[in-house]
């Protein structure tokens, strides 16, 4: 920090900063902790112990039930399939579109951009009925393919703008230098531009994955059979007619966090550079 300030002021400043950060982290993580806590609380203690930070005895029973006795593993697999395929598809399409928007001028470019932007402006609920009709006629209701198509369509606009901004951040000179050095345009793209855009693609991949992973509205509406449910819809099956099985529901939620965590752990290296790229001139 700034030299010349007294030692005491500096220490106080640090304490203040870390307190604020700690408070924020606690605020953000507390619901997760509560989920975890309930997931290991035996059914018998759930309502009898009052509010405690940790149950007097913990159990894996809920997890066992979820994994063995419910369809949850199936939902889980469905979610993985839908999210991964959507994320990969969107990233590929958005990268291509973003590159075109960033590098070329072509007729109708502004129109395309405006239409992309427009799709982001109205509430999703409005389009549900027509989409249901369309998907029904195409035979794509109650199918993972249908979900993938819808998710891909709805994520492309934002992802395209995201990718465009990453491409915009790469100086045109680099491509031109590569073309003078002996690359065709596609070689310049492959050898110079794409390696530099990987962080951006990582960020897009992560963003779309999360969006698809936690999507509920379309999944709820388009999917009816148990074999095609994603976990977000699956979670609702823990809400019975007469009672909510909180323990199992929370156990399922904790399990659902695992792939998201793994995914981000894997992407983290790219994400940090990706989201700050352009902030610092290198």
């Amino acid at each position: 920090m700034i030299a010349g300030r007294s030692r005491k002021a500096r220490i106080l400043g640090s304490i203040g900063l870390y307190t604020a950060v700690a408070a924020y982290v606690i605020f953000a993580l507390f619901p997760l902790f509560w989920t975890l806590k309930i997931s290991v609380t035996p059914q018998s203690l759930l309502y009898s112990e009052g509010i405690t930070m940790w149950p007097s005895s913990a159990t894996w029973e809920n997890y066992k039930t979820v994994l063995r006795a419910t369809d949850f593993p199936r939902y889980f697999l469905n979610s993985v399939i839908v999210s991964v395929v959507t994320a990969v598809l969107v990233t590929i399409i958005a990268s291509a579109a973003g590159y075109a928007l960033s590098r070329f001028s072509f007729r109708g470019k502004t129109t395309v951009a405006v239409i992309l932007l427009l799709t982001q402006t109205f509430p999703l609920v409005m389009v549900i009925p027509p989409i249901y009709r369309i998907m029904g006629e195409l035979g794509l209701t109650n199918s993972l393919t249908g979900l993938i198509i819808i998710y891909t369509a709805f994520n492309i606009a934002f992802a395209t703008f995201l990718m465009q901004s990453f491409f915009d951040g790469i100086p045109k000179d680099l491509e031109e230098a590569a073309m003078i050095d002996g690359c065709s345009r596609s070689q310049a793209l492959r050898r110079v531009i794409i390696p530099l855009t990987l962080p951006g693609m990582g960020a897009t991949l992560g963003f779309v994955f999360t969006a698809a992973w936690s999507e509920l509205l379309f999944a709820l509406m388009l999917i009816s059979s148990d074999s095609q449910k994603t976990f977000a819809v699956g979670l609702l099956t823990f809400i019975g007619k007469f009672a909510v099985d909180w323990g199992q529901m929370m156990a399922a939620s904790v399990l659902a966090l695992i792939p998201a965590c793994l995914f981000f752990g894997f992407l983290q290296r790219y994400l940090v550079t990706g989201l700050t790229a352009g902030a610092v001139k290198g």
Binding site: L174, A177, A178, I180, G182
Partner: protein
């Protein structure tokens, strides 16, 4: 190596005309500098030679080959960008060897060529570093190195030194010149700095508003500027301009300033009695304290040690005088100055064109 021939080349962006009818031939091995104020189209012309910008009309040839429709990669040129445009994800060695690698040159040969170029530029210890781990001056050298390992037909430079500090710029200037004397590769160099142009060029091309104003050796341009623009652009401190009226009697021809003082001009010049002209005089061509009768009033004195710069008023206009040595004159003094007839450049004030003696 090859010559570059530019014939009647034009560039339009939509309705906007950026270059109009540019004609230029650059000889094999020549170092040509394109110079002009910002926005005059020099980068555009260079990028058209490189193939990065389409040619709206006309023809560009490298050697005997018309390259209008040849892709940049097939033109056998190398270019140094103002931003250096180093590949951030490749180390120095890969940056320099990239073009050779693309041409599927044998590994050992790439290694040798990169090594030799790095050595020449003092980069041998940096070969494994990434561009972001280098200083600005070192990056500039890598950009140069990337160009020379290619051994191309033509080098193109777009203001390669403008991101360096003043001292390093002067150093690299001489280094680039030395490099050219060794390699003798045809070079086209863009700058807006007339000192860079004067010091480096075999020939200078002065551009203004998309039109070539004059092409010539540095001293040609300095001694015989074709028009007011070139006269004012080349030289620092710049040429002094004064409006005057010609008075001719028998063999003597004089230019009369607005306050009635007169300056003798070359009698062979094609000017008539009573004609309005603009005369141009370089600061170092004004002799201080001569027996002449011209009087200038000193406003500001700038002692430079070796020399002295006077800012004076002559006929109510500011006139800069550059004199060797030191002075004990004071601002406010009036001093006698002398100007040789042969040192006075005369221009047509309407067209800006230089007026020459009758052949």
């Amino acid at each position: 190596m090859a010559s570059v021939t530019i014939t009647n080349v034009q560039k339009n962006y939509g309705a906007m005309n950026v270059l109009s009818a540019v004609d230029l031939s650059i000889a094999d091995g020549e170092f040509v500098v394109l110079v002009g104020p910002s926005g005059c189209g020099k980068s555009t012309l260079l990028r058209m030679i490189a193939g990065l910008e389409e040619i709206s009309a006309g023809e560009i040839r490298i050697g005997e080959r018309v390259v209008n429709d040849v892709a940049p990669k097939d033109r056998d040129i190398a270019m140094v960008f103002q931003s250096y445009a180093l590949y951030p994800h490749m180390d120095v060695a890969s940056n320099m060897g990239f073009s050779l690698m693309l041409r599927k040159t044998a590994k050992e040969l790439v290694f040798d060529r990169v090594g030799a170029a790095a050595k020449r530029l003092g980069l041998d210890v940096f070969l494994q570093r990434l561009p972001r781990q280098l200083s600005g001056g070192q990056r500039q050298r890598v950009a140069m190195g990337r160009a020379i390992v290619r051994d191309p037909q033509v080098f193109l430079f777009d203001e390669p030194l403008s991101n360096l500090d003043a001292k390093l710029r002067v150093h690299m200037r001489t280094e680039i010149k030395a490099l050219h004397q060794q390699l003798k590769t045809t070079s086209v160099y863009v700058t807006h700095d007339q000192v860079e142009a004067m010091t480096m060029a075999d020939r200078i091309v002065v551009m203004h508003d998309g039109v070539i104003q004059q092409v010539g050796t540095p001293l040609d341009l300095y001694d015989h500027p074709a028009n007011l623009f070139v006269a004012g652009f080349i030289g620092s401190p710049g040429m002094n301009f004064l409006p005057a009226v010609v008075s001719r009697n028998n063999t003597e021809v004089e230019a009369q300033l607005s306050d009635g003082q007169t300056i003798a001009i070359d009698p062979r010049l094609l000017v008539e009695d009573g004609e309005r002209v603009t005369i141009g005089i370089r600061p170092e061509n004004i002799e201080v304290g001569s027996a002449d009768t011209l009087k200038a009033k000193i406003q500001v004195i700038e002692p430079l040690g070796l020399s002295t710069q006077f800012y004076t008023t002559l006929a109510d206009l500011q006139v800069c005088i550059y004199a060797m040595g030191r002075t004990d004159r004071k601002p406010g003094d009036t001093m006698n100055i002398g100007i040789k007839a042969g040192d006075v450049h005369v221009f047509n004030p309407a067209t800006g064109q230089r007026i020459d003696p009758a052949a």
